[in-house]
């Protein structure tokens, strides 16, 4: 690929949209996952009594509920990324590839 072809693709507004929008989604979702997980670990490290407290009148604790929530959020965030990629980024990539070869 010569630098002329690079310039051509980089000048394509669809390419710039693709790169900037996908980067934003990437960092937002990664930061969310990191925050949820480290938040859970820090609660375990700093506030054990809170995590052991029952949610209602039964034995199910806040810690177990939060843990299950982190597991479900991992699947949820993955699904968000896949849906957005399929709906928005794949058509952009296909259009760019059709016009610039590849």
């Amino acid at each position: 690929m010569d630098s002329g072809a690079e310039g051509g693709i980089e000048a394509d507004p669809r390419y710039r949209t693709l790169v900037s929008a996908r980067r934003r989604l990437t960092w937002v979702l990664s930061a969310t996952m990191l925050a949820l997980y480290l938040g859970f670990l820090l609660l375990v490290a700093f506030n054990k009594p809170l995590m052991a407290r029952p949610v209602g009148s039964g034995v199910l604790s806040i810690g177990i509920l939060l843990g299950l929530a982190v597991i479900l959020s991992a699947i949820g965030l993955t699904a968000v990324y896949v849906r957005r990629s399929t709906a928005v980024y794949d058509p952009l990539v296909d259009a760019i590839r059709a016009d610039h070869g590849g």
Partner: protein
């Protein structure tokens, strides 16, 4: 037909020699014939797969990446298979059996690395690479230094992971089949060699898929049987488990029995201080994104879309699996802890603490189901070992031999030859180390593999993908520092320095090195790259634009992949 003959020989070995040896060892411990038959049946099926795959494995591309012909769904199952090791199945359910909540912390850590791989790495990896993650890490850099680093780092991670699996396999077979430990390790080494040597990635992937389906199926059955008497209510299961633990505490005469019973619902001593908590979390979360045998799986699918789909499937299966182990662990409290038949005279679990899930299988489905679950657990180790060996072999043949030594001029046949020799060498090494490390605590080796992957491979991969300023010197210096620091700090940590080496006080007080070694790697890459004024550095930085276009759109991939 050398492969055919060898296969026939090995089937004979697995079905005849296995029980014969086991019969000899029957004096020492009970021989479980159902387990051995189940195990022989599974081995026969997987060897059949290998034979089928061997006919299709001709080029280096077939051998390393199944010719890129695996679908996203299949690859998702194979990834889940690579990841749901016997250590997670037996280890995590055993930890829940003992401590309750603390086992959940492990499961979550192993899971959250997957979204990170998807968001940051999977698609870009598929667009840029061909066989190994070093293809991607060295895309715009000088090939020889970056690939040499990647090969050393891959082999280090693979070796520590491999030792842990071999020792685990040896103990499992010794306990389940009544075989001597050394025989068990040799059988694992032999079978793994056959899968990888003749079937390559196609066989390894299909063995992984078969095993993933069996493991998910039997875990689902166990969880359903546990929940059935409770009307599928988790709350009812937890309440019964707390009652059982309270009764056990009261029977052993501990002070506050009710508090002891409730303790399984909250955090225990697993996470002691915040620094260890974050460090452990970083190692698990980012280590997954640096494991070479996992990254290699993204080259078995045809394109970036399929890579994405495979992560969605893998994440869902792995999450489902960890939810099942959670139920299984609590099921073991209710069904195993209440039955004195599963405990020896000293009050310990028969066969050791890790056998909670195996005893639960017996409590649910008798000897036949016990045999089935044992065979699946063993198959799990075999499949993981095969995947690891393939990753190690590709690092030597593709990165070191074809690119560094032959400067890219090696033909496919020669590369394949080197690869197969490496497989043999790694198998012998793994068996030798497995026997050498007999009886050692292996948990630290797995955590070390994750810490090294998070501190060496991950920073190099991330910055080469996302930071235009990174240079050859920067990534090699930073990656190497991260690798060495993770290694040294782990040796100085309580697990190795005190428990294994027997010194009184640890020099490094925290349980995981990642919180220091990972930022050190990132910082060094940044600093060295910034100060790099070499001619190569200019080439490295200029190469980012072309790399980014290919990473984001996949333009140029098809041409590069034409065989």
């Amino acid at each position: 037909m050398r492969p055919g003959l060898l296969l026939a020989g090995l089937i004979a070995a697995a079905t005849l020699i296995g029980p014969a040896v086991a019969a000899g060892g029957a004096v020492r411990s009970g021989t479980n014939w159902t387990s051995i038959l189940m195990f022989a049946a599974f081995t026969a099926v997987t060897l059949g797969i290998t034979r089928w795959a061997a006919r299709r494995t001709r080029t280096a591309s077939d051998f390393y990446t199944a010719g890129g012909g695996i679908t996203g769904f299949q690859n998702g199952l194979a990834i889940a298979g690579d990841y749901m090791s016997a250590a997670s199945f037996l280890g995590i359910s055993a930890q829940i059996f003992t401590d309750g909540f603390d086992g959940l912390i492990y499961s979550i850590g192993f899971l959250v690395g997957w979204p990170i791989i998807l968001f940051l790495i999977a698609e870009r990896l598929r667009n840029l690479g061909r066989y190994t993650f070093a293809d991607v890490a060295s895309f715009r850099f000088a090939q020889a230094p970056v690939r040499s680093f990647a090969a050393v780092s891959t082999l280090t991670v693979v070796l520590f992971y491999l030792i842990a699996q071999m020792v685990g396999a040896g103990q499992l077979i010794q306990l389940l089949f009544g075989l001597p430990y050394e025989y068990a390790v040799v059988i694992v080494g032999l079978l793994m060699t056959v899968y990888v040597l003749f079937g390559g990635m196609t066989a390894t992937t299909w063995v992984q898929i078969v095993k993933a389906v069996l493991l998910l199926g039997s875990a689902t059955f166990m969880a359903a049987m546990v929940l059935l008497p409770f009307g599928f209510s988790l709350e009812a299961l937890f309440a019964r488990a707390v009652a059982v633990k309270t009764d056990l505490a009261a029977a052993s005469g501990s002070g506050d029995a009710a508090a002891a019973g409730r303790s399984i619902m909250g955090p225990g001593n697993f996470i002691r201080d915040p620094v260890s908590a974050i460090s452990f979390g970083l190692a698990l979360m980012f280590g997954t994104a640096g494991l070479p045998h996992i990254l290699m799986r993204f080259f078995t699918v045809p394109d970036a879309k399929a890579a994405r789909v495979s992560v969605l499937w893998a994440t869902s299966w792995i999450a489902y699996f960890y939810l099942l182990t959670f139920v299984i662990g609590f099921g073991a409290i209710v069904l195993v802890a209440t039955n004195p038949g599963y405990f020896d005279a000293a009050g310990g679990l028969v066969g050791g603490g890790n056998m909670a899930a195996i005893h639960l299988a017996h409590a649910i489905g008798g000897n036949a189901f016990l045999g089935f679950v044992s065979a699946v657990a063993f198959a799990t180790i075999l499949a993981v070992v095969a995947g690891l060996t393939l990753a190690g072999a590709s690092a030597v043949s593709h990165d070191l031999y074809a690119t560094v030594i032959k400067k890219g001029a090696a033909d496919s046949a020669a590369e394949l030859r080197v690869s197969r020799r490496t497989v043999l060498f790694l198998a012998v090494l793994a068996v030798a180390l497995g026997i050498l490390f007999k009886g050692q605590n292996v948990a630290f080796m797995v955590s070390l593999a994750f810490a090294i992957a998070a501190s060496g491979n991950f920073p190099v991969l991330l910055l080469s993908l996302f930071w235009p300023g990174a240079t050859t010197r920067g990534v090699v210096a930073g990656g190497s520092l991260g690798l060495v620091l993770a290694l040294v700090l782990t040796i100085l940590s309580p697990t190795v320095w005190v428990t294994v080496l027997g010194f009184a006080d640890p020099i490094f007080p925290y349980s995981s090195p990642a919180i220091f070694s990972m930022p050190a790697a990132f910082l060094t890459i940044w600093l060295v790259s910034r100060l790099d004024r070499s001619r190569r550095a200019a080439v490295d930085r200029a190469g980012y634009r072309a790399q980014q276009i290919r990473a984001e759109t996949g333009i140029g991939v098809d041409a590069a992949h034409a065989h």
